[in-house]
């Protein structure tokens, strides 16, 4: 009986959270088109998020390309299909591995950062101070950050994909004596717009989810330092789950569209 009521309460809380997140999202679209526009803060956030994530995305992308090629090589050699390596690596990286890995890294790096920053601003009354000084804190803090992640994530994904393919080309160059020119010719021959366009759309949604959940958790942070930690932590957990759901929907829709 007690367990039943716990389940009901948890389910109720879950529905309340969904409702609040929907309201938060609706408010974003409302505020997005209402002046004044905080261009300066938006550019500052774009620079911070892009610039500070570049090294992490580059290193991860390079290692993924490298490891992916090293692991696949023996199997492809067994079937005499090493020449398929560039197309296999590029299609898997561009369609799936690149976007999801970069998004997960950014969820950890950017999402938790937003959650912690806004959370500590809430706890120390900085958000209230902003409101009192006649600034709309939602517009200044939330809209700019969500917009920045939405714009920057596709750029970071493109960059990460390029580095990953370069990593793969390097392995092929060393192990298989394949020139970079030949490798990249094969990559571009095998790639089609139907590989790149849906994945680019998907990354906009990934970026939006990272910014939205980070901001939602931070902006509605409960009092105390524990609240800040929880906001940062739950921002990463919820975003990661949301990324896989978006990925599933995106692949499902793409398959319907292209079949």
């Amino acid at each position: 009986m007690e367990n039943d009521s716990k389940v009901v309460t948890s389910f109720k809380n879950f529905l309340i959270e969904i409702g609040e997140l929907s309201y938060f999202t609706a408010r974003f679209f409302k505020e997005l088109f209402n002046p004044p526009f905080e261009f300066k803060e938006f550019w500052r956030q774009c620079y911070n998020m892009g610039n500070r994530s570049l090294l992490l995305v580059s290193v991860t992308g390079f290692i993924i390309g490298l490891v992916f090629t090293l692991q696949s090589r023996p199997t492809l050699e067994e079937f005499g299909a090493v020449s398929w390596m560039p197309s296999m690596v590029s299609i898997s990286i561009i369609r799936e591995i690149g976007p999801i890995i970069t998004a997960l890294i950014c969820a950890g790096r950017i999402g938790s950062g937003i959650g912690a920053e806004l959370g500590s601003m809430r706890v120390t009354e900085q958000i209230d101070a902003m409101e009192v000084s006649g600034t709309n804190p939602y517009k200044y803090l939330v809209v700019t950050r969500i917009l920045a992640t939405t714009v920057m994530l596709p750029i970071l994904v493109f960059f990460g994909d390029a580095i990953a393919i370069f990593g793969s080309a390097m392995v092929e160059n060393i192990k298989g004596n394949v020139s970079f020119l030949l490798y990249f010719n094969n990559v571009f021959d095998s790639l089609q717009f139907s590989d790149v366009i849906p994945t680019t759309f998907k990354t906009f949604f990934f970026g939006f989810a990272i910014g939205l959940v980070g901001c939602y958790k931070g902006y509605n942070c409960k009092k105390g330092t524990a609240g800040v930690g929880l906001a940062a932590n739950s921002a990463v957990v919820y975003t990661s789950m949301l990324l896989f759901i978006i990925d599933f929907i995106a692949v499902f829709v793409t398959n319907i569209f292209y079949s």
């Binding site: 009354e125 009192v132 000084s133």
Partner: protein, 245 residues
Amino acid sequence: MEKKPIITIENLHKSFGDNCVLDGFNMQLYEGENLVIMGKSGSGKSVMIKCLIGLEEPDSGTITVMGKNINQLEQAELDELRTEIGFLFQGSALYDSMSVRENLEFPLRRHTKKFGIIKDTTPMVMEALENVGLAHAIDLMPSELSGGMKRRIALARTLILQPKIILYDEPTTGLDPITSKEIILLMMSIQKKYNTSSIIITHDVDCARVIANRMILLIDSINYAEGTFETLSASEDPKIKAFFK
């Protein structure tokens, strides 16, 4: 001549779930007056001033600030009215990511209606910092400041918009007695210089003794007692006496 109230609160009610914080609170603040509000922790003092500035929405009641009912104002009108009200937060609430200069420039750059577009904000920033005796801290970050310095910078940020009313939320809490005294003297000098009206939320009896023209004791969610420091401190009511022991 009868003094005009600059703020009037009538029958203010505010609850959080089952916890009733304000249950018919009434108050008036007159021009040039320092009104001290005392009450136990969690008695609703901070909630009351947050309702006053529109940070919390009251369940019922009327709040009139400079002739305007703040619950009926549009957001833009409320923002404009807020330029006339300064708020000193308990924890100073300086923006961590900005330097002292940027903290002070932030409200200036946003209130172009009041001051127009200011090309060089330095003279105004310097004047506000000189008022609190911290002109040398202009390029420091909040993390480099002591508790007392943070409180002074927050006061300078409040003053930069030249408000007519200043709301102080426990301005001396967490400070040592010497710094507390400095802050109290600073508040008094600002009141004299700019002829501001102030509401001071405090637990500090010494602060109340020095600064209060009038006091309200918030007990049992209502304005339980009202008067000068002398009359209230001489009261025989045990609930009132407990504050002045």
